[in-house]
């Protein structure tokens, strides 16, 4: 399977340098790209930068609720970091445990 990334231009270049198979830099069409990718079955991992993830948050949440195994979506910080961004896996953890898990508590 492949690794795919949806990200800003700089991150895209960097990930390509590291050998990621396909990178997409959306120009306002992130929704279509996202739907295209999640409906494919040859994608194992999908990276998505935080600011793009934020703009399609509803779709992402929907995807996480479906409980589909692949692609595994990883939210990464892009060139511009989003302050206080909570990724969907962390939100899922919070829901499963009932409280936000503090590392000090472990």
């Amino acid at each position: 399977m492949k690794i795919v990334a949806i990200c800003d231009e700089t991150t895209a270049m960097g990930l390509e340098l590291a050998g990621v198979h396909e990178v997409y830099v959306p120009e306002g069409d992130e929704r279509e790209i996202f739907h295209d990718i999640i409906s494919r079955d040859d994608v194992g991992i999908m990276f998505i930068t935080e600011n793009i993830a934020k703009s399609i948050n509803r779709e992402l949440k929907e995807f996480f609720l479906q409980g589909k195994e692949f692609p595994i979506i990883v939210e990464i910080p892009g060139k511009e970091r989003v302050e206080g961004y909570i990724d969907n896996i962390s939100a899922l953890i919070k829901r499963a445990v009932g409280v936000s898990v503090d590392r000090r508590a472990l």
């Binding site: 050998g19 990621v20 892009g78 899922l92 499963a96």
Partner: protein
């Protein structure tokens, strides 16, 4: 709603036996599910701890990698960086197999097919040192990100399973078991009442018969 008596159950001894059996089974299932939930949560916490560590590392390396790349962009110009970034070997096929963690299928990556140190195909004469640095850092970051993806998959699968188990435990604990208990109690009471009626009837008949014999 919880203490409701199950509708349509006739107060007979047969039904009582059946309800008792169901209650026993429900309690056994409840205990098993509780154990499963606790084991899953323990495993889940371990995964979360690992995930936080990897996530932190990945973010840190990625930040440095992007800085290096921006430097390279400034030295070489965005277009040449872009062209160079296309001239890189791909990391090869990623393949997952499934591992069983307490009945939950979690994805595990086959790392042997990965080619994380991909050879650059761009020329050395028209690129700069910072680009090579950026490439190295991004490779490192990608390695961490792949680890993160793997553990994210695990955490997700575990979280969904925990939620499902929790729901089942709650249904047993708050609905099914109280209902069965209420039904059992009601049947027992009705049967006792009938017995008392019977007992009294027999006494009464006996008294009547004795009176007749005497007279």
């Amino acid at each position: 709603m919880s203490g409701e008596v199950i509708a349509g159950v006739k107060p007979t001894r047969m039904e009582l036996l059946r309800i008792r059996k169901r209650l026993e089974l429900a309690e056994k299932g409840h205990k098993l599910l509780e154990d499963k939930r606790d084991a899953l949560v323990e495993r889940f916490f371990r995964s979360i701890k690992e995930r936080d560590k990897i996530k932190e590392e990945a973010r840190e390396i990625l930040g440095r990698a992007i800085e290096a790349l921006i430097d390279a962009e400034m030295i070489m110009g965005t277009n040449r960086v872009k062209i160079s970034s296309k001239l890189v070997e791909k990391i090869g096929e990623i393949e997952f197999h499934r591992e069983n963690v307490m009945g939950v299928k979690v994805p595990r990556l086959n790392r042997d097919k990965l080619n994380l140190k991909s050879r650059p195909l761009y020329g050395f004469s028209d690129t700069c040192l910072r680009l090579d640095e950026a490439k190295k850092l991004f490779e490192k970051a990608l390695e961490k990100l792949i680890d993160l993806a793997e553990i994210d998959g695990t955490v997700k699968a575990l979280a969904l399973e925990i939620e499902k188990t929790k729901r089942r435990v709650n249904v047993l604990e708050n609905v099914l078991i109280p209902r069965l208990q209420a039904t059992r109690k009601r049947i027992e009471m009705l049967l006792e009442e009938r017995e008392r009626e019977d007992f009294f009837r027999r006494k009464r008949i006996k008294a009547i018969l004795e009176r007749r014999n005497v007279s």
